[in-house]
Symmetry: C2
Subunit: 156 residues, 2 copies
């Protein structure tokens, strides 16, 4: 078989299963887009020795909201013990700092250092490019609409 014929067959064969009813299932669509998106995002962030997870923590640490680790766990849908590991690593790299909570000394707030802010500024550019790659099939209006719908589904 020639290379061209192979490519054609692959293209014909590759998305054959889209016809199955599971392609109507939101859970499946979310999983699939999330899976392919993660690959693109992590590849873009690797340049800064970050992954989606640590990038998320860094953004929140840099947000000025002074989140506690518990809040990070809730918001990122992660176990508190996973937050410990993520913050440990970012703190070791001097990108964030832990501080005791002001009202509650049990809690620790996580804030970005200036080094963390600077790295984040660079990483955010790469992340934006990755996002537009993931949503390449959508125009700007559609991409905005998708985001709005996801936000509404999450927070009403």
């Amino acid at each position: 078989m020639t290379i061209e014929a192979q490519d054609e067959q692959q293209a014909a064969t590759k998305d054959r299963l889209v016809a199955a009813p599971i392609s109507q299932d939101v859970g499946f669509l979310l999983a699939k887009l999330h899976a392919s998106g993660s690959v693109v995002n992590n590849r873009a962030l690797a340049e800064f020795d970050l992954k989606e997870r640590s990038y998320s923590v860094l953004i929140l640490a840099d947000s000025g909201l002074e989140p506690t680790q518990r809040e990070l766990a809730d918001f990122l849908s992660l176990d508190p013990s996973q937050i410990v590991a993520l913050v440990d690593e970012l703190e070791k790299r001097k990108l964030v700092a832990r501080a005791p909570g002001k009202q509650d000394r049990r809690a620790k707030t996580v804030t970005a250092t200036s080094k963390g802010s600077q790295l984040l500024a660079q990483a955010a550019i790469a992340a934006r490019h990755a996002e537009s790659e993931v949503l390449a099939a959508l125009d700007d209006r559609e991409a905005a609409q998708l985001k709005a719908l996801l936000r509404k589904a999450l927070w009403g």
Copy 2:
């Protein structure tokens, strides 16, 4: 503090971090909705001893498309070895059957048994309820729009 005041504070505190710029990030929104959706879906499917993964395989096996395991792996974004485990388990439960590929005897196609189809019919009802729970904040038009945008992002 009274219970009511606690609840208020929790409500005020719970989504405090939505203000952070990461809430604009599609990757994050997908991850979060997917995470909460998985919990709901898996809870709904547990009644049938299925999880999202095995449910997906069962749907595709029941689609009439006679997918090969390789196609399942590609379509579900899973490693081929994970498909082996999923099909093994469904086959042990007599919900699907493996058959050698017609043109290619290396490949094995996976098709649902009638027992599998019957179970799927029940499970699909539960899955639909789970989905409407996940998308409770969206009206029907918005839910359809969300699905359409996800499909377009994936397959153009």
